[in-house]
Symmetry: C2
Subunit: 686 residues, 2 copies
């Protein structure tokens, strides 16, 4: 049978890491491969610069210091939420772009937090000792408590520190990451969305590409720009084909260690439901935006985010459905199970692990929709209601000892939560009514009108009417009321007659119940058994491997490289001339006025975007691409369609990262935006 | 392994037909089972009444004669298109309902065609001889030509006859069905959508249920009601639990004979894409309807149709993803392949059939999106554009000999096509612009902006701007212009400067190309090899089985019966009292004013809806449910959620058909609608 041989090949290939595959943690870099393949030695100084100049945007992106004065380079789409928040009915900065010509014009982003990694320590032993001999259900609770305690001990109440225990290798390792936390982050430069996202959704996750998806932030401390000793100098020459380059950044989530049963849950249950939900919401927002320019403005960012997620989900679903893929994974899994079975000690501890995980997937089938709608609030889409829930839950959780709280209310988590909770960013009632009304309809649709949580939520009201009433009558848009409820704790919450607080109180029981069920019957089982499998892998194959992505700092290495698509070679670089050829004048293929005005002065051969073989995934957006000399030679902003399958497997023949070329940044800042001060700060020799 | 035993059980169960499973053709009824199990003998007279009183609505539903004066009972949702077409800005009949108090108030449905089955003849030998020794690619063309010729010979140019060759058992049998065609069909009675679809989408495909999903039509010939000798008298007593009852009707499509590879295509490729597409369109229409009552009115029917399809697709996808389902099918298939392999003659002809079908699925993966967007026009959603394409293609096809035309332009097919093409039903430009603009965006999204067909379609125009221009400038809303283009043929089409005709001409090449590819590389391969498998089944297991549904007349038998859902027994009957308890006053759980006004006079114990074990599927909507005496004791309008999996397998423990009880019809006509003349016509003894 043909599948057999493909599967076998796949299984053989995957027993060792492929060249250029891997999102490596800084404490376990592939030094031998780099030395052997590229004659490159990782020095302590090099590592130190990489670690300290690379930054994490806590909302879900990457970035890096690019000057000694705290200037940060990241993607436009990583800060578009801030740009929208700084906009108003009169001034749409997503449309118009933004350049601060002086420090005092730099505008505070109300919800951006930047993290700089100071230190990594191994806490595996401590956690493993805590959970030794516990049942999976006891372990899941004890593990969280231990993590919260380690984080509190590391952070020591200092809000400028952020400590996180990172789970690696499915619990085979736990590391404590200590970050410097910056919450005063200001917008310095953003081009217009028209050029930042040129090609829009049609070109997203594809290549050739022509987007200036960049923005500049500056990190402040005590009201002054931070002095960033470690930074990457931008080299406008970029990188050459075949040159060794690195990407450092914060890939969010991959599922390469998932068992077949877990992948099947994604393919058959979770992704189809998510795609259908997001597609409908996209349709709703598309029409909402046609009502008028103000509706367009206030919904634009969410719309683009949905488009992006939807396309990513479709790519992942296609990867999981690729003929032969699941069969190959099944063969690999079978081979590993055989090897486990052949070792007496492993057989005893681990032979049943895969079946336990598979049984937990049957529970997912029963409760996923409830979990998604109630606990993940997909039946309650509203920023104000999310705030209400946080206020209600925080009032219950904060009085508890740190280790016993839900993880999102531990001391280590509170600064980021309160930054969002007390953000002055505008919330738009019209959009709130729309998304809450629509999502309450989905709540009823997916759970059925007779589900107890649906009856509790709707009573006899129609979903949209209920949403209209709640948003109209709530006072949570008022920051002082939120603060009073936060400070007043449980008593204030119990006494509040705010309809959204009342609603959040009312619906919290079912949500907490399904969360508990998920933790006990799925998470506990999966964690315990995945750790067993991971430990078996360590025993059988050693530790020269990288863990699944976890939104912690990783390094990947690779090269600028063409690839072949249906027999046609895709050149690795695009140019300004290519962008002009693609511009039809119609969105999303229209230049903004600033580019049209500068058109004749733009050097046509300037490289615009390029592709590399780096192994990246969502969360790597904004990652610096650097050369051996730690010069910044590219800005990662996307991957090609094949890279979406990277969630489950890396294939160096097809997976490509997509980056903005530094020459395009220089050209734009100089010629289009006349931002010479930024050109000086970014490109002049130190 | 647990899967093994489930799969084995399934395989054993499925080698013979389960009690009450089956959508039987009238020439191959399960006489033995009926005699043995129910002591019921099918007499020629009984068969004759069943055949002649059962009707097909050519648009995709079932119905039946219920009086000697051509009165037809079917579902409200089967004629909602007509009701919408008879509505206007001033009078929304979907909302207000409709009662013709005299014959001259009965209103012509512009696009409804009713078919009465006159005769079935077996043409298997003729077709099999035609395609003997041909390659699959030659056979697919020859088969269509032979079918068109047989149809033309049978119809003999008489527009009142409709002849169709029906493919049964995947080509193991071909039958020629000769129908009496009626195109003068008038609306007699329709309740308000509020009560016809009480519970709306939340209650759709579920039970308990409280919907009066009925309507009455009357068939006319030469301007007079037809004298319908064969009809089902309605018996308000309905059916009792465990009594033998029959459903006769026109189930549309089931896929129970699909190979595993075909089912995987549905699960992983086709259904996810369809669900995502429809979900987004639903979101678009939801918002469109909020603009105002007129937008709500003109989009309502399409919106409800999408909701219904979406829910059905989700149910089917869930059935295909059910743990163990695909494994069981794989085991069954494996067992059949083994048996084929064991017979020398079969091995030679048929052993490779499954792999050939699997290979064709790989082609589907390559071209499905093109086929769906271009040929099925999911990238071109517009009634006017569909008309334009028909005009363009008909001009190319009609001059060809009948046997060489695309199937939808054969002589047998033209009357239904021209009824729609020259229908005076209103087309709403605002809705046309919306759906065309949105779908052109999907065309670009799914095929990519660089796809040749996308470039050909859009040029440098933005999708919505192009749609606006085409709909604004076309004159195809004018019936006389359509007729002139039809009559003028190829010369008129070539000379036309109508922008929609120009557009339809321009995009026809790529659509025909992908259709040809689909026919040659998928349809041809699947047809030839499915027929081989079907013939092997005949050889191995005999012919005491039923074929997959094909929108031809079928009979299924069963009983009123409760079922057990998650440990709880679901009672088979609901009552008017239950409907009142469920009415919140908010849509879709609100009674219409007529019911509120009559509320105190309604007998609370009147049965409203009920469930039976009949094996039905979409297309059975409007089917009569009859007893041994051919009395109508129910009106099928839906199935429960489990019945959606009936597309792939019937499970008598859970699958249920949902029907309107005749007592509820009588109560409503008498008490709510004061339609005594209809009560007399329906319920008085003959």
């Amino acid at each position: 049978m043909k599948y057999r041989s493909i599967a076998l090949l796949f299984a053989l290939l995957c027993t060792s890491v492929l060249a250029e595959e891997g999102m490596w943690t800084l404490d376990n870099l592939p030094r031998q491969a780099l030395a052997r393949q590229y004659q490159f030695d990782v020095t302590p100084a090099w590592s130190q610069t990489v670690q300290k100049a690379s930054l994490r945007l806590a909302g879900g992106c990457s970035g890096s210091f690019v000057s000694a004065q705290g200037l940060v380079l990241t993607n436009h789409h990583c800060v578009s939420r801030c740009i929208a928040q700084l906009s108003s009915r009169d001034e749409n900065l997503l449309e118009a772009g933004f350049v601060a010509r002086e420090l005092n014009q730099e505008a505070i982003c109300p919800e951006i937090e930047v993290n700089q990694l100071l230190d990594i320590s191994d806490v595996t032993q401590s956690i493993h000792q805590t959970i030794a001999d516990l049942s999976p259900q006891q372990a899941v609770t004890a593990r969280k408590a231990a993590m919260s305690e380690l984080e509190a001990g590391c952070g020591q109440g200092d809000h400028k520190l952020r400590c996180e225990v990172v789970t690696l290798y499915e619990g085979g390792r736990y590391h404590l990451y200590k970050y410097r936390r910056y919450q005063d982050v200001r917008l310095v430069f953003a081009p217009e969305t028209q050029i930042a996202a040129f090609g829009g959704d049609p070109d997203n996750f594809s290549f050739p590409r022509y987007a200036l998806d960049m923005s500049l932030l500056r990190v402040y401390d005590e009201g002054q720009p931070v002095q960033s000793k470690h930074y990457f100098r931008v080299n406008p020459a970029g990188a050459q084909v075949d040159e060794l380059v690195f990407v450092t950044g914060h890939p969010g989530t991959t599922r390469r260690a998932f068992t077949v049963a877990q992948l099947v849950s994604l393919r058959d249950l979770i992704l189809p439901q998510r795609m259908s939900y997001l597609a409908e919401l996209r349709g709703v927002l598309r029409q909402f935006a046609t009502v008028g320019p103000e509706q367009e403005r206030i919904s634009r960012r969410e719309y683009l985010g949905i488009e992006n997620t939807l396309k990513a989900f479709r790519g992942r679903h296609a990867a999981l459905s690729e003929p032969g893929f699941m069969e190959a994974r099944r063969s690999q899994e079978y081979a590993l199970r055989e090897r486990v079975h052949d070792k007496r000690a492993l057989r005893k501890t681990t032979a049943g692990a895969w079946d336990e995980i598979a049984k937990a997937q049957l529970v997912w089938r029963d409760i996923y929709t409830d979990y998604s709608m109630l606990e993940l609030m997909r039946g309650y889409q509203s920023d104000l209601l999310a705030i209400a829930r946080h206020l209600v839950r925080a009032a219950q959780e904060r009085p508890k000892p740190n280790a016993q709280r839900l993880r999102e209310y531990t001391d280590a988590a509170l600064p980021q939560l309160t930054q969002r909770l007390f953000s002055a960013a505008p919330i738009h009632p019209e959009l709130e009514r729309l998304s809450l009304g629509w999502s309450l309809e989905k709540l009823r649709e997916f759970l059925g009108p007779d589900h107890p949580a649906v009856r509790l939520s709707l009573g006899v009201e129609a979903p949209q009417a209920l949403a209209d009433r709640l948003i109209r009558e709530t006072q949570l848009a008022d920051l002082s009321i939120r603060k009073a409820l936060w400070d007043g704790g449980a008593a204030a919450i119990a006494a509040s007659a705010d309809p959204l607080i009342e609603f959040a109180r009312r619906i919290d029981g079912p949500a907490r119940a399904v969360r508990a069920r998920q933790e006990q019957d799925i998470q506990a089982v999966v964690e315990t058994n995945s750790t067993l499998i991971s430990q078996a892998r360590f025993q059988l194959d050693g530790t020269d491997n990288y863990p699944d992505a976890s939104f912690s700092l990783r390094l990947s290495y690779g090269q600028v490289k063409a690839w072949t698509e249906k027999g046609r070679e895709i050149e690795p670089f695009t140019t300004v001339a290519g962008a002009m050829a693609r511009a039809t004048g119609q969105a999303p293929f229209a230049f903004p006025p600033s580019w049209l005005a500068a058109e004749t002065q733009l050097k046509l051969t300037t490289p615009m975007n390029f592709v590399t073989t780096h192994d990246i995934i969502g969360g790597n957006s904004g990652s610096p691409m650097i050369n051996r000399k730690t010069e910044l030679v590219g800005l990662v902003f996307d991957g090609n369609l094949h890279s979406l399958g990277g969630a489950y497997a890396y294939d160096g023949r097809y997976n490509r990262a997509v980056a903005v070329h530094p020459a395009a940044m220089k050209l734009a800042l100089e010629t289009v935006y006349a931002a010479d001060h930024l050109v000086d700060e970014l490109f002049s020799a130190p």
